[in-house]
Each structure stands twice: as C-alpha cells, then as structure tokens.
C-alpha cells in the first residue's frame, strides 16, 4: 500500500513539475533486484557536471534540467552506473534501478562472525580477502594465503619466540600471540591444517577494537573470520573442480657456510697431538671417536703405519657430508591437490557439497601428508520466517613423520650427546648401501659388547630412515546447526550450535631393528661374572602411542534488530554464548613390542638399574607415559548497535563481558567487560561535497578494549602433580605452580583506530589509510621477588606494552580497457615496545637472546630487539677482537660483556617494522598475470660466524673460519678474529655479540607469480564450461634487493636453508 502511494506521489510531482514549465525531474533510485531505496546516489545531467543531485533517504532525488529532455547519469558506489534518457512529459514515475557491480569496494560485506555489515557503514578496521584473492596462491593450508595480501598482517620469520603470525604487532608478553580464528561463526580450536582452502569463500580480518571487541577476551591479537562456501539459490547447480600439482626445489644444504672438512681434520690432528683425546680413550663413558682420531690412535699404537694413517686421513678431506644429507635425507617437496564441489539450491533449500584430497611430500625424506576433507552444508527455508541449516565438516589426515634428525654423536670433547656430526661423514658407500656412523659409544666398545652377547649396536642413519614407522592420524569434524527465525519485521532470532572434535592418534613404532630400541635394551643390559646377560628391557621393538583430542561445544543465541528510525537506520544485536573446550591427551609406551602379534612385555619401572656402559650411572627404565586433561569454559554476553543517520553518519558501540573458569579468581574477576565505540562519516554524501574526482570519501574512528586470557596463572596457591612419580622414590609428588595472587586480572588491549576510505572516479585509485595505537594493559609478566620469599619471580599483571602504526592500502587501475593493469599496494608500519617490565636481566641475556631466542623484555624497547657491543676492530698484531671499555680500546672480554643493559647498542627491532607488498595484475582477454612483490624493512638480525669454542671442541663451526685473521695485515680485509691460543669463551661471545655481525634486515622479495588463462561462455561460446582456467603459480622466487651483503636471506639467517622455490600448475573449471 505504502509503495503504491510513493509511486503515485512521484508521478504527481513529475506532472506538477512540467506544469510549472521548469523542467524538474523527480525520481527514485532503487537497487536491483530487490527494489530497495538507495540513498546517496549521485544524479547528474550528462555533459553538465556543475549541476547534480543526491538521492535522499528514500532514494528520491529532484533535479532541474535546462531542457525538456536530457540524459541523466546515475551512479552509486558499488553499483554499475546507468545512463537514463528522460524527456518531458514523463509518462510514469521515474524509478531507476541500479545493479550491483561485482568486485567493487562498495559491495563488500564484512562478516564479523556475529553479523554481516556493509562496508560503508563500518566504523572499524576490517580487511576482506575474497575468493579470487584467496585462490591466487596455491597451498594446502589457508593461513599462508593471507600473507602479503592483508595490510597489518605478517608472518614473522626470525628466531624462536619472535616467529609467528601477528596482526598489528604484539600486545602481550607471555600470553598467546595467535589471532583468534573463527570459522563459520565460532572460534576454531582444532588444527588449522585441517581446513581446506578450497572450501573457503572469504576471510575477514578484524584489526581494531570495534571489530574485535565483539569477540571479547580473546580478540586482543586480532580476529581472522573464515567463512566457508554455502549453497546459493537462484542459480543452476554448479559443479566446480580444481586440481593442481606443485613441485619444489631441493633444499640448499650449503646455504650456511661451514668449516671445510680439511680444516676440521687439521684441528682434530692438532688436538690429538696435544693429547686431548688421551685421557678420554679410557673414559668409562666409552666416548666415540671420529675416524680421524681413530686413525691417529691406530697410527700411534702401531696398528697401521703413520703413512697409512696419513693417507687414509687425507682421503677424508674431500668428503662433505652435506652432499649425502642432500642426496639421502632431503628431496624436492611436492604436492597435489584436488577439490570438487557442488553448490545450488532453490527458494526452499540451498546446499553445498565438497570433497577435497591433498597429498604432499615434504623436503625431508620420509615425511608426507595426506588430507581428505568433506563438507556438507544445507539450509532449509521452512517458511518465510524460518530457516534451518545444518552442516558437517570432516577432515582426515595421515601424516608420516619418518624423517630422521641430521645424524649426531656424543662429542667426547664436550661429553654432550647430540653433538654436530663431523663434516666428513658418509651416509652410504659408493653403491648406496647404508654406512654405520659413530653415535654414543666407541666402535671398539660396541664390537666387544656384541661379542659378549649384546645386540648389534651399530648406527646406520639410512637404515634408521628405512626402518622408521611413525604415523599420526588426525580426524577432525565440526557439526553445525543453526536456526533463524524472523519474529517480526526487523527482529530476528538466531540460534547456533556447534560441536567439534579432533582426535590425533600417533603411532611411533621403533622396531627391534631400530637403533633406539637396540641401544636402549643394550644400555640396560646387565652382565654378571659368568657372562650371563639379563635384560630389564625385553628384546623387541618399542611402540609409542600418543593420543590427543579436543572437543568443543559452542552455543549462541542472538537477537538481531534493525529498523528505520527517523532519517536513520538502527541495527542492533545482543546475545549470549557458552563455550566449552576440553583437551585430553596421553602417551603410552610398550616395550618388547612385536608388531606381528601386537604383543608387548611388561617392564619394571620401579627398580633402578645400572647402565651397562657406565655403571656409575643408574636409572629407571624410561617411562614416557603421561596424561593430561584441560577444560576451558567461557560464558559471554554481548551487545552491539549501530545507528546510521542519513546514510552519512554512523555511530557504533559494542560491549561484551566474558567470564571463564580462570582458576581460583574471585568471581568478579573471572570476567572482563570490554567495549568499543566508533563513528563514521561518509563525507562524500554531504550536499556541500563536490569533489567529483573523488566520489567516495569516508572518515571513521574507533576506540575500545579487547582482551587476552592466560590460564597458566591462578589466584590460589596451585600445585600440579607430576605426571610420573618422583624420580627418587616413585611417590606421587606435587610442584607449586604459583603462589596466591588474588589480584589476577585478564590482559586488556586498548585500541584506537582512525581511518580514511577513498575512491576516485572510475575507481582509478581507491583504498584506505589507517592509523592505530594499541596499548597492552595488565599484561601477565613477572616481577622479581627476593629468594627468601620462596619464589624467585612472581607472575601477575605487571607488564605493559604500547604500539602504534599505519596501514595503507592503495588499489589502482592503471589501465582498465582491453588491456588491464591493476596495481595493489600495501604498506604497514608498526612500532611496539614494552613500557613496563620489572624483571631485568644481565646484558648477556639481551645480547644472546634478545632477538627472540628467549623473551627478555627491556623497558622502552621492542619485545624482540637486536643489541650489540661496540666493535673496535681486530688487534693488528694478534687478530684479537677488540671493544671499547669506558671509551678505551679493550680486550678485557669479561668486562666488555659485563656492561649494564642500558649501555648496550640498540640497533632496532628484530621483526620488520615496515612491511607490505605490491601486487600487479595484468590481463588481456583471457590471459592474466599477477606478480606479488613483498618487502620487509626497518629491522635487524645477527649474522652467524666462527666460534672458537666450537673449533676447540671439534664442533664444525661456521665457514668464516677460512676468513679468519692469520697474519698482520689481514685485519684490513677481514673482521673474523684469529684463532686464540687458549680457548676463551668470553672472547667468542664478545665477537658474536659485537656490532660487526649485526645486519640490516631490509629486503624486497619477488614473492610469487600467478599466470592464468581463463575461458568462459562469454568469450568462447562453444565451451561446455561456465568457465575454465589453466594456471601456473610460482613462489619464493628470490630476493630482489637487500640491504645486507652476502648470500644470507635476512628472514632466514639462522635457518639451515631458506624457503625453496616452488612451481605449481593446475586447472579449474565450473560447470
């Protein structure tokens, strides 16, 4: 009825306008196909840019035209512009419908996991990665497809703790840094590798408080909202298929320079001549000796002639074990991916079915993965008011982990197990048969033991690889159901429930032939005076079974309300959510395992047995059985409202309270109320706005809090039981975890975000600039306590961080005709520093671990940073490294290392502070080429170099050994210190931590290239496909520029090898 009235009114006014002989056009702009009023559309007369009108909240515009007829141009962001001819008298009401334009900024709908909101009305900071962009990269996992395409998101490389995915820096110290991952409305608790990227429709990244505070206490690190593909109505059933294969380069094991075998052997001979092995020859621990040392001993003892010894040693000088590692332990990685899906529906039912299969072979020989996914999703429209949907997502993976560690041995000079293998080892003979290497004990001892009846004790790495049998099977499924009920116009109820469960079963079978089984049995074997052997560990294999599982239940009920109030629109939602997450795990070992009959034998875990090699050592039989059970529960209430006035002004607010079973905390501290407020102003909608070249301009800002919880701390005195008995007695024992802390609170992150969105006419340039600050408050940190209190550190809400930065996105269409050249530029800058941390350490910790090897926060500095000592060059007469002590050149290394932390050189963050990418896409007809160049700037790393402590203990050291200072004058060409006469670990440390080894990390990388050829019905009528595409994708193509010299990749300065190049080829088609 109302509609009819409006049309009548329009018609009347048009008639009336003609009557006054002033040609005033009155019309209404609506959207197609749903005919909703479209306020803010721009209407101009063609050829006359000076006059124009904007449609009001009802979509109605009024425009004077000079003549009785004119061509009107009607445009609105996100819609295809239209040209309409009008001529008076206008026969009927002028209703102009605009069709939505795909791939447009304005069309973007942001999914927060609670609601979908059009981007124009958003006040917060969101980035959306649509299906096209997600499909650009070829990978088995989803998350890597977000790298270098989302501003503010970075996957940091670097060392240990500094690694990992971050969105807008790090605002916590000891709690999780991982963004919250939401899949189809609920946080995902399982393994991210179970998600098949082919099933994902789009990903939205929520970066600020407005975006994240609706996710509450776990959103402090940002939120990644993943929306999987769903059925679609109104289109014919569509079958899609995608298949690709990926091959990689063989890893470059020569990436890190290493001392040559010959130099290494020279040192071994030198140590032998210094009698450093003499005492060890009779050591009760039966330390193994390298072939060179054995040959020297044989030569000395007259078993072979010195010449023979020399000859055999010289033959070893040309061997480089890395050739064997490369040949036998590594391979080119490869992967295959197949995905098939079916989607369709009608007005009663929508469905999506998919199946995916992935298999991949890792770069390490023996490791491979297979993944099988099935996704079924149905939505039923039972009545106009009621929708019900149900879905199952199932993933099964089989992972083989048979790869062996790089061989190592017990280095007699250090007495430590796991020493780096000597560089001239050989894994196989000329025919490829596995060769034995030394491992724990001297070969002569092993031979004698076997004579006494011990099991074969030889260690052949390649045979170990062949015998390995380590598989884990992961089953993960999510069952989801939802109900949508329209209570009245504008009021909707949603109920969602999800049950998810993942079970990972590991089975590592060390057969009787494996070194681990044989050696462990032998270690515990006792031999009595009569030569009778007793074996506390029975012969046979060892079977380790691990099982870990999680199950999560989520329940959410929500009311959505949307209504036009006056000249504005109110949308509001509120609801509550229950979440429970349980994790259970166990490890169980069987000794004497016979795989043929699945039988095992009992062992005595209680008695202490003497070791056969060194009876001074006794131990119980290793008992690795453990179990754990964790449960997290959350109870949350949330509210979210936005009011948009005249399509120009939006105010938004959200509030949420989360409570959890944070242990022992007073009930009122279990929860944290979090809120945000925001505002947006679509400036381009204002009547005074006339910048025709910039038809879309929006300002927005938000302020609010999100949180982070850390369940490792508790308010009571808590203790935990050892999962096994006490080593001394076997009795149950408990360790006090933390002293009482009734003041414990949740971590909070305060975020301010200010942004501008813009778009020039014809979308030649569009994008956004955002400035943000993130302040970490009440962070869990440690406080030093005097030892007499009984605790050394006290953990509580003692730390704080502050960060700020910029995210810039510029999308440009340089050419947009037959030949298209689109360029997308991302730039993110982030600075974060620790503003409060009460525990300080001595300088050596910042020097050694500051870059991420440990977490040693220093107030006023980034959490991970590179520090160094001043370098004063090499002593020209000795080649000793020199530093500055109180302004004087000094070689007092202990004193140089003992300076206070505030005297250290601070270079900068160990993680990129400026990063982004430039993606250029060229297309012509069916051919498209996309090239992504990424860059990382504003950070530092430390280069590796020679360590004479390593040299002195026969550990293969860095290749800088050959560049060391050897004679006066060398200091002009090298900064590598001379070999000291007496090992001095402080001298090594000084060099290692001096600024001469600090490098700028800045670099630009050709990340990847995608080339595709697409045909569809529109450009090839005869094709049986809706569309078909062939594509080639190559990634890790190399560094284009870097600030530091040398061959080291700044992001992988401490890796064994840098990322390998990969090439993929694939097809996909839709029918």
């Amino acid at each position: 009825m109302k509609k009819v009235f409006i049309i009548f009114l329009l018609w009347m006014s048009a008639v009336f306008s003609t009557a006054t002989a002033q040609y005033v056009v009155v019309g209404k702009v609506v959207t197609s196909p749903d005919s909703a009023a479209l306020p803010g559309a721009v209407v101009v007369v063609k050829g006359d840019v000076t006059s124009g009108a904007t449609s009001d909240e009802n979509g109605i515009f009024k425009l004077s035209i000079p003549d009785s007829s004119a061509d009107l141009l009607i445009s609105y962001i996100g819609y295809k512009p239209r040209q309409v001819h009008v001529s008076f008298p206008i026969p009927s009401a002028l209703i102009i419908s605009l069709e939505a334009d795909a791939n447009q900024l304005g069309e973007v709908v942001i999914s927060t996991g609670y609601q979908n909101i059009p981007k124009e009305r958003a006040t917060g900071s969101f980035s959306t990665v649509d299906n096209t962009l997600l499909s650009r990269r070829v990978s088995t996992d989803l998350i890597s497809r977000l790298y270098d395409v989302v501003p503010g998101l970075i996957s940091n490389q670097g060392r240990s703790n500094a690694r990992g995915l971050l969105i807008r820096g790090q605002s916590t110290i000891s709690s999780s840094t991982q963004p919250l991952i939401v899949i189809d409305n609920f946080p995902y608790e399982g393994d991210l590798s179970t998600i098949n990227p082919n099933d994902v429709e789009s990903v939205t990244i929520l970066k600020d408080a407005a975006a994240a505070s609706i996710w509450g206490s776990r959103a402090g690190n940002g939120v990644i909202v993943i929306t999987t593909k769903k059925g679609a109505s109104g289109t014919p059933t569509q079958i899609s298929f995608n298949a690709n294969v990926t091959t990689s380069q063989r890893p470059d094991l020569f990436y890190q320079p290493r001392i040559s075998s010959s130099d290494f052997i020279d040192n071994e001979i030198r140590f032998f001549d210094l009698s450093r092995y003499k005492a060890l020859e009779n050591n009760i621990n039966q330390y193994p000796f390298t072939p060179v040392v054995e040959l020297m001993i044989a030569g000395r003892d007259g078993k072979i002639s010195p010449q023979q010894a020399q000859q055999q040693i010289d033959a070893l000088r040309d061997i480089d074990v890395r050739n064997d590692y490369s040949q036998y332990l590594y391979q080119p990685a490869a992967a295959q991916q197949y995905a098939l899906s079916l989607r369709g529906g009608n007005d009663k039912q929508k469905f999506f079915l998919s199946a995916g299969y992935d298999r991949s072979q890792a770069a390490e020989v023996g490791n491979s993965d297979q993944r099988f996914t099935i996704n079924v999703n149905n939505t039923y429209t039972l009545s106009k008011r009621l929708d019900i949907s149900a879905g199952i997502y199932y993933t099964g993976t089989v992972s083989k982990r048979n790869a062996q560690q790089i061989p190592n041995y017990t280095n007699p000079l250090t007495g430590l197990t796991g020493g780096v293998m000597y560089p001239y080892a050989a894994l196989a003979d000329a025919a490829g048969s596995p060769l034995p290497l030394i491992n724990e004990y001297r070969l002569s001892y092993l031979d004698a033991a076997v004579q006494k009846g011990f099991l074969d004790w030889s260690y052949r790495p390649l045979q170990e690889l062949a015998n390995a049998d380590n598989t884990s099977r992961l089953t993960d499924y999510r069952l989801q159901t939802s109900i949508n009920y329209k209570i009245t116009e504008g009021l909707k109820f949603t109920g969602l429930y999800q049950y998810s469960r993942g079970i990972n079963m590991g089975r590592n079978h060390y057969s009787a032939d494996t070194y681990l089984s044989r050696s462990l049995i032998n270690t515990f074997t006792a031999i009595d005076a009569g030569g009778i052997l007793t074996r506390p560990i029975p012969t046979g294999g060892i079977l380790d079974k691990t099982e870990s599982s999680y199950s999560a239940q989520n329940l959410r009920t929500q009311l959505d309300y949307s209504r036009t109030i006056g000249a504005g629109e109110l949308t509001a939602l509120g609801g509550f959510e229950l979440r429970e997450l349980t994790r259970v795990g166990s490890t169980f070992r069987s000794y004497g395992y016979d795989d043929q009959y699945a039988s095992a034998k009992a062992v005595d875990y209680a008695t202490t047995f003497l070791y056969s090699v060194n009876p001074a050592i006794s131990s119980r039989i290793p008992n690795v059985d453990t179990q754990y059970e964790h449960a997290d529960r959350y109870l949350s209430y949330y509210l979210n409202a936005a009011y948009t006035f005249r399509k120009r002004y939006t105010l938004s607010a959200s509030a949420r309270t989360d409570r959890s079973n944070l242990f022992g905390v007073n009930a009122n501290q279990r929860g944290v109320p979090l809120y945000s407020v925001g505002a947006a102003w679509q400036l381009s909608q204002e009547s005074f706005y006339h910048a025709g070249w910039l038809p879309y301009l929006k300002l927005r800002g938000t302020f609010g809090y999100s949180g982070n919880s850390n369940k490792n701390v508790s308010a009571y005195t808590t203790a935990s039981f050892g999962t096994r008995g006490d080593i001394n007695t076997g009795a149950a024992f408990a360790t006090i975890q933390n002293p009482p802390n009734p003041e414990l609170r949740w971590e909070r992150v305060k975020t301010i975000n200010i942004g501008i969105d813009f778009e020039t006419s014809r979308r030649t340039l569009s994008g956004s600039v955002e400035y943000f600050t993130k302040t970490g408050l009440d962070l869990i940190g440690s406080m030093p306590y005097p030892g007499s209190s009984g605790v050394k550190t006290f953990t509580g809400n003692y730390a704080a961080t502050a960060g700020h930065g910029i995210d810039l996105t510029v999308n440009s269409r340089i050419f947009d005709r037959g030949f298209k050249w689109y360029s997308d530029f991302l730039l993110s800058q982030v600075t974060d520093k620790v503003t409060r941390y009460d525990v300080s350490s001595t300088s050596i910790f910042y020097l050694r671990n500051g870059d991420g090897v440990g977490t040693f926060p220093l107030e006023g500095k980034p959490l991970y940073a590179v520090y160094s000592l001043d370098w004063a060059g090499l002593d020209p007469s000795t080649g000793d490294p020199q530093g500055y002590l109180n302004g004087e050149v000094s070689k007092d290394y202990a004193a140089l290392l003992a300076i206070t932390p505030d005297e250290l050189n601070y270079h900068g963050p160990a993680r990129p502070s400026v990063f982004g990418a430039l993606r250029n896409t060229f297309s012509w007809k069916s051919l498209s080429l996309s090239v992504n160049i990424s860059y990382r700037l504003g950070y530092f790393y430390k280069d590796q170099s020679v360590s004479y402590s390593q040299v002195n203990t026969s550990v293969p050291t860095h290749g800088d050994y050959s560049r060391r200072w050897q004679k006066p004058g060398d200091e002009l060409n090298t900064t590598v210190p001379s070999m000291p006469a007496v090992a001095n670990s402080n001298r090594d440390s000084f060099y290692m931590y001096s600024d001469v080894l600090v490098r700028k990390g800045d670099h630009i990388r050709l990340q990847d290239v995608n080339l595709s050829y697409t045909i569809n019905k529109s450009n090839w009528k005869k094709t049986p496909f809706q569309s078909a595409q062939i594509y080639v994708y190559a990634s890790n193509l190399g560094i284009v520029w870097k600030a530091a010299k040398g061959s080291i990749d700044p992001d992988h300065a401490w890796s064994m090898f840098p990322p390998v190049r990969t090439v993929s080829a694939g097809i996909k088609f839709d029918i």
């Binding site: 060194n614 001074a616 006794s618 006490d726 009795a731 030892g787």
Partner: protein
Amino acid sequence: MNNLQRYILLLCLISLTLGCDSDYLEKKPQKSLLVPTTLSDMQAMLDNSRELMNVSPYLNIISDGEFRMLDAGLNGQARAVQNAYVWSSEESATMADWDIPYKQVFYANVVLDGLAKLSHQDSQEEFNRIRADALFFRGLAFFNLVQLFCAPYQQASAEQQLGIPLPVSSDVNLKMPRASLKASYEQVLKDLLEAAPLLENKPLYLTRPSKAAARALLARVYLLMGNYTQALQYAENALELQNALIDYNSVPTQSAISFPLPLNTVNPEVLFYVRANTSFLNNASVFVDSALYNSYAENDLRKKILFTSALKYKGSYVGTANPFQGLSTNELYLIKAECLARADETDLAMNTLDVLLQNRWVSGSYKPLKANNPDHALEIVIYERRKELVARGLWWQDLRRLATDSRFNFKLERTSMGVVHQLAAGDDRYVYKIPLDELAGNPLMQNP
C-alpha cells in the same frame, strides 16, 4: 502465530536467559592442577624430593678444599661457583644455595598453613606426621642457610650477630629482615624439637624424615652451637634407633660407584636422604685434594672405596657421583666421639671411633686407637671426621666452628688461574655474601 512459531519464540526467550548457572565456571582448567587442601596434597608437596625437598646447598663442598678443579673446568662454571672456589668476596648475582633452602621453607610453610586450615579429627596421626615432616624440612633448610650466610655460632655474641630472614608463613609478600643469629638457631631448634616426637620411626621413603633423622640433625645442630652435652645426648638417642655401619670389607673396590642408591637398595648407614644440588664432582676436571687422599693409610679401605686411583670421588651415599648431604650413622659416631673427647672421656671417645673404623679398615688390620689426653683425642676425632665425611659439606662447617679454637689453625690455600688464594681461620669469607638479587628486592644487611 501458529503453534510452531509460538514454540520457537519461547525457545528463543528461554535460551537467552540461559547461562546463569554459576557452577559452569567452577570447572578446573587442568585436571592435574590442585589447590592444596587435603592431607595427600600436602604429602605430595613434601614428596617433591628429586627437584626440591631432598636437595641441599653445595658451595661448601667447593670452598672447603676437599676437591680441586683444573682451570679449564673452572672456566666454565657459574660465577657463584668460581667465587666460592677462590673464596672471592665478590657478591654473586644469584645463588641457588640461597634460593633453594628458602623454596623448601616456602613449601613447608604452604603445608603448615594449609594444615592449620584443615579439620583433622579423622586422621590425627597422619596430620601430625605431615606437620612434623614440614617442620623438619623447614628446620633443616634454615640450618643450612645459617651455615652458609651467617658467622659461626658463638654463645656470647649470638644475640648481636646477624642471622637470616625467618619466614614462617607462606605469604610471599612478607619481606622478612634478618633475625639475630640466636633467634635463627632457636627457630631451627624449635622446628626440630617439635617435629622429633611426632615423626615416624620408619617412614615409607628415606626421603621423608624419621625420628632418628631428627635426632641426628639435632645432634649436628647442638654440636655446631657448642652444646656438646645435648649433642651427645641426641647422637646417642639417634643411635638407639639406628646404629648399623657398613663393613667396607664387603664393598667392592672396583665399582665405578661404591654404594648403591639408598632409596631402593638398603644402605644401613643412611638415616635421611639428601643430594647436593651439583654435578661438580662429576666434572672431568675435579679431583680429590691429594693431601687428603694421601692421608688415608694403605689398609684404610676408604682410600679405594671413596676414590678411584685417578683421584676421582666415588663414595657418595647417594648412589651416583652427586654428593650425599643427608644424615647417616657414621656421622653420629663421630659426633658422639667428639662430645666424649670434649667431656674428657678420652677412652670412651676412642672406643666409639674404634666401632666405626673397624668397619673401614681391612679385616684384621685395624688397631684400636689410643689417645694420650683429651686434646689428642679431639684431634684424632676431627682428623677422622675429615676422612670419613668427605663431600658432605660438613668439613666447611668444621672449619668454621674450629676457627676460634687455637688447637686447630686450619689455613686453606689453592692456586687457580695462576693466582694463589688463601683463607685463614676466621676469615670473613667463611661467610658467603647474600646474593644481589635478594638485596634488590629485600634490603637486608650484607655480610662483611
């Protein structure tokens, strides 16, 4: 509205009001996590033996001159160890020997505070025993601290001398000042005297204190305080409960480690198991002082059983090369002999030593000792203490307490990194400096 819709609307409203159940958030986040409330929780904390409760300080072994370390080995040691080795007066940044005993005290206090909140009608006996265990552990920890960080006890000046902070509550926020030396010893005695009658005669594990262990420790404490009457009394009381000695003739001299782990194989001399918190003696560059080694007679089996011919120590009652610092019967014989000698009971003193030493010498080769006078008897006893109680940390205590006795003028000397270091009797450096990380959080008076 049809029925279905009514039903759904109702469901919506009900579900919105759900979640008020407060029990839902009471679930423990980790099953293995416990808030110690029951007796077995308390027991479990005290049974944290390997990592904490049966661990003792070790710097005394490094300082007391029984063992020497080659420069190469010393180079790689922690600063606190290097300082202890050369008797440096430098303050160490941090010292496990300070922290670990206080952590033991903290555990004991958590148990004692927890017990105070329990109603204990049901299992009074177990309650008392656990309480006594906690008191014993606390007393022992305080005693160990006093031996490292306070001047030797002198009756006359103990009230003026600085003792240690004496936390007797589990509140970690209380920053305790240093009590007087007298008060510190009194606290040790109070804890031990209260514990002794409540302790079991034969606990389940040697890592839990027994009645005999408490008496043995009291004998040691009184000896250190110069109260020889009480020391004698408690040594005899302890020996009444356990007096067995190992005949070293039955111990193989060829084993790499002479004594088995006492925890599952019986070592009749061990009353209470404590392992020093160090692998110092395992270090390849550590050897027994050759003067000490040479002081054993050829027929003295200890020479071959406590040491290898390469001068490595292998005689720990821990069953590994880690030093034993617990309580054992052999120490009791020595305490008894010393107290008798000091009471001028020369013959009785020598007879007591004979009982011990007969088990140490090759069968038939031992000749009973003869002392000319009480001073001579005392000298023999001290001499035997040194040879019998190697690597126990007790020699450091002996050096400290005998410093004021003019009959003994022990002077330590060692060369390290080309520098000769000396430590004369009564030197301030017999008292370790309190570590800096303690002073940073708790402004205690530093030792001279």
